[in-house]
């Protein structure tokens, strides 16, 4: 199996696309650390994986808190003895509301950046020493197609996801010599079990109509790319952002 015995940390793995990533990585043979701020959700996914026969650990993690990210990495090391893959998926997303940038408060901006941008950095910072020691590792960041397309009344989120691409490239250049590959996946508008105010059915339908592949994206559309980037098959790929969006963005 492509990820046999790999230890993979998935932030925000307790629900939505993060949960889908965790399930597929486990199916590919990985041992999973579910790092979610919602402890109950994280535990539920870990139990689900264990039922399938996979090894899994849930660690309550606030990615915006440095100590919490260190504890996450430590828990992974204590349980499994290594960290092979970090999927930086945790983000403020489903709870956001659309509003003109003139009405976004500084508190809201800072709170979003703390999770979506600082969290990516802190989780990378927490796992990098172990990956460097191993001289191998994979960091997979989750951006969004909106970093390329832009979207009105969504400036804080758009900016945060552009930052994730920048972080990806910076990490790729800085960590390559330790055989640590850093890549990014930019999903389109993904339909998950989590309701969100920013995506009405009309909005989702309009997006699907504009895609090459005219059906709404679901979490299962993303998992093949995540496993590919986590596996040895992508050993010469770093600093890249793959648009997994049914053919929407072409840069």
């Amino acid at each position: 199996m492509k990820l046999s015995d790999r230890v993979c940390i998935g932030t925000g793995g307790g629900r939505g696309i993060g949960r889908a990533y965790a399930l597929r990585m486990a199916q590919a043979g990985a041992r999973l650390v579910i790092a979610d701020i919602n402890e109950a959700n994280g535990q539920a996914v870990a139990r689900e994986l264990q039922k399938e026969g996979a090894e899994a650990l849930a660690v309550r993690t606030d990615v915006s808190d440095e100590q919490s990210t260190r504890d996450m990495a430590r828990a992974a090391m204590d349980k499994f003895g290594r960290i092979d893959v970090l999927v930086n998926n945790a983000a403020l997303f489903a709870d956001l509301t659309l509003k003109p940038f003139t009405e976004i408060s500084v508190e809201e901006w800072d709170g979003l950046m703390a999770v979506n941008v600082k969290g990516v950095w802190l989780c990378a910072k927490a796992v990098a020493p172990f990956m460097k020691e191993q001289k191998s590792g994979r960091i997979i960041n989750i951006s969004s197609g909106v970093w390329l397309s832009g979207r009105a009344n969504y400036m804080h989120y758009v900016a945060s996801k552009a930052a994730v691409v920048g972080i990806t490239r910076a990490l790729a250049r800085e960590l390559g010599r330790w055989n640590i590959n850093t890549n990014c996946v930019a999903p389109g508008a993904v339909l998950t079990e989590i309701p969100r105010e920013t995506s009405s059915p009309e909005h989702m339908a309009a997006i699907a109509r504009a895609q090459c592949i005219r059906r709404t994206e679901v979490p299962g559309d993303l998992v093949g790319t995540i496993v590919f980037l986590a596996s040895d098959e992508s050993s010469f790929i770093t600093g890249q952002t793959i648009n997994v969006d049914g053919g929407t963005s072409f840069q």
């Binding site: 090459c212 010469f236 049914g246």
Partner: protein, 252 residues
């Protein structure tokens, strides 16, 4: 095996990246049409390697010029006659004759653009009828960092042709998606005769290049081949019109 019983055409597969892709596809269960242009012994050796390693038997060895439509059509017809379907097309055939822009002969421009760009068009159009009828197909084009960045002297014809292939990929992705045909581009760097000739022209060494890449090494064709498998399988069903660099981080 992730490509069991699929039929794949891999152009330019008598050596280099194409050869590695042919072998890898055969390992994954695909019948591969090995396509070369002039060195029949090299193309036959790929089919022989496949057989000796006990992999899925090749779909045949074909010698042709991809810039000539009739030769492409004949190959596609023979593959269809034998297998009844073509699932994967890898447009990998290419040539390079490093030349400074001020020395580049018009005939060479036509030849280089003809093999890369028109060859990609020819092979794509030739397999479309079958793929469209079955509403299924994976087309993987091959470009190069030269198309994405100002990579240095000697490749104006080659870079232009590769840039054209990127535009072709995007427009074909849009037009063919209703027929469930994915069209993507891989932008690889690996040690091949092509890179050797370019390095010789520029007076550089592969080791120096590799050490400047973020990953610090230079890939062999075998290390590029798995990305072709990714784009040939259902793992990439929702990915189309994209260009993925497999180049150690050279291009970002």
């Amino acid at each position: 095996m992730r490509l069991k019983d699929r039929v794949a055409i891999v152009t330019g597969s008598s050596r280099g990246i194409g050869r590695a892709v042919a072998l890898r596809f055969a390992r994954e269960g695909a019948h591969v049409a090995v396509v070369g242009v002039s060195d029949r012994a090299a193309a036959q050796a790929v089919a022989d390697d496949i057989e000796e390693q006990g992999l899925t038997p090749a779909a045949g060895v074909f010698m042709l010029d991809v810039s000539r439509r009739a030769e492409v059509d004949s190959m596609v017809e023979q593959v269809l006659e034998r297998f009844g379907h073509i699932d994967i097309l890898v447009n990998n055939a290419g040539i390079i004759h490093p030349s400074h822009l001020w020395d580049l002969p018009e005939e060479q421009w036509d030849r280089v653009v003809g093999v890369h760009l028109k060859g990609t068009f020819n092979c794509t159009q030739a397999v479309l009828k079958d793929m469209m009828e079955r509403k299924s197909g994976k087309i993987i084009n091959v470009v190069a960092p030269a198309a994405l960045r100002a990579s240095g002297a000697g490749v104006a014809d080659y870079a232009s042709a590769k840039g054209g292939i990127i535009a072709f990929t995007k427009t074909a992705a849009r037009e063919l998606a209703p027929y469930r045909i994915n069209v993507n581009c891989i932008c690889p760097v690996a040690r091949t005769r092509m890179t050797d000739s370019l390095m010789e022209f520029r007076g550089t060494k592969i080791e120096e290049h590799g050490s400047r890449y973020p990953l610090g090494w230079f890939a062999e064709p075998e290390e590029i081949a798995p990305t072709f498998v990714f784009f040939a399988t259902g793992d990439s069903d929702y990915v189309t019109g994209q260009v993925l660099a497999v180049d150690g981080g050279l291009t970002m």
